[in-house]
Amino acid sequence: MKKHINQRDIILEVSQKTRIPQPIVEAFIEQMFRQIENNLVKGISSNVEGLGIFRVIKSGDTNKIIFLGSKKNIHHYYTKETIISQLPSKPIPKNPYQNTKVEKNEFPFPSTPPKKVVEEKTTPKTINTPFAQNQTIQQKNNRQVYNNNTSQTNNLGEQTYQNNTQNDYPYSPNKATTNSSYTPPQTDEITPKTNNINDALKDKQKKREEKKKLAIILPIITFLLLIIIAVGIYFIYFDKTQNNTTTEQEELYTVNFQELQANDTSLIYNCSIIPNKDVSLEYIANEYYGNKVFWPYIYLANEDFLSNSIIVKAGSIINLPKITVDLFEYNKGTVQKRADKIGDNILKTKHIY
């Protein structure tokens, strides 16, 4: 199937075959066709073997481009060696894609390590005095700090540096030679102690952070505890006072009745009672009939004595009438409703509020 192929495909194919970066391949192709164009503008014909001949001819007043395609492949005309023989030979630099004038001094990383690392060669093996201990620890700290700085600044050598932390300085061009001024420390005791110092520093930082957290959390916890204690004390005290009031109220409202047998022979009354305190008819009904609803019957039985009050004074005699209740109607609630109606009528008629 016929399709349009872009210059990009040619660049990719050539780059894969020659292993030359794509930008350079692209630049080469552009340069090639640009040169052909310049030749055409100047009136010079270009014979690109394997592709064709580009020529400009006059056609009347204007110029036209003529292209004669070649029938044979480039390999029929040239080989690599024939082209090389016709090109000027120049020495290939080590880094062909960079400036060849780079000297060692201009190399971005110094070949020799700085003095801090060199000074550690004079560290004594045995440490007796505390001052010497402090000095060596400072030197170790300096080296540790230096090592960290170099690992941060140098991205290219970072991986190698991490792999060779103890025995190799990564940026010297003479790594394998022994003539370099820098010799790495050979003792193994240094690195564990430096690690211990760093761990100690980290522990201190952790402790500080924990202290800060505690300083914030502890007052909150104590405040909450105080609130809980205060609420508990309040409820306990309040409950106690309530209990006291209920007992006092009970004492206030416990009424003792003196019961007298009714002398009435009509069998209307059960008995007669004499309260020792002022008491309401509802209280008496609740005590003797089990429900305060039946107070109107007590009132009607003692209407002459009570007149316009439903409170019985202490020492007065109250007759308790006999009341027959249909249990079926009592369970339905009709008995209570009837008693309520009677009570409402009494209150309205007798103007008892």
Partner: protein, 80 residues
């Protein structure tokens, strides 16, 4: 001007731009570009070269074939 002459000029232009390519690399680039162009045209596909033109090859009944070139307007204007 033939192929090697074009390669010389390209090599000089690269050196001016601080890109150092050896003679073998230049030769490889030249040969491989032309062979890839030839292989694409053999499939009767249209090859578009940026800021230059397009090439197409048409094959006849016999083994002979013709390659056509259509320049862009800018190139024709420059030549006029």
């Amino acid at each position: 001007m033939n192929g090697p002459d074009i390669c010389k000029i390209i090599q000089e232009n690269f050196e001016k731009q601080n890109i150092h390519l050896s003679a073998s690399q230049i030769a490889e680039l030249y040969i491989n570009t032309l062979s890839s162009i030839d292989s694409t045209l053999e499939e009767e596909n249209t090859l578009d070269i940026q800021n230059f033109g397009s090439f197409i090859r048409k094959k006849g009944i016999t083994t002979s074939s013709l390659t056509f070139f259509k320049p862009i307007n800018r190139l024709t204007d420059r030549i006029k």
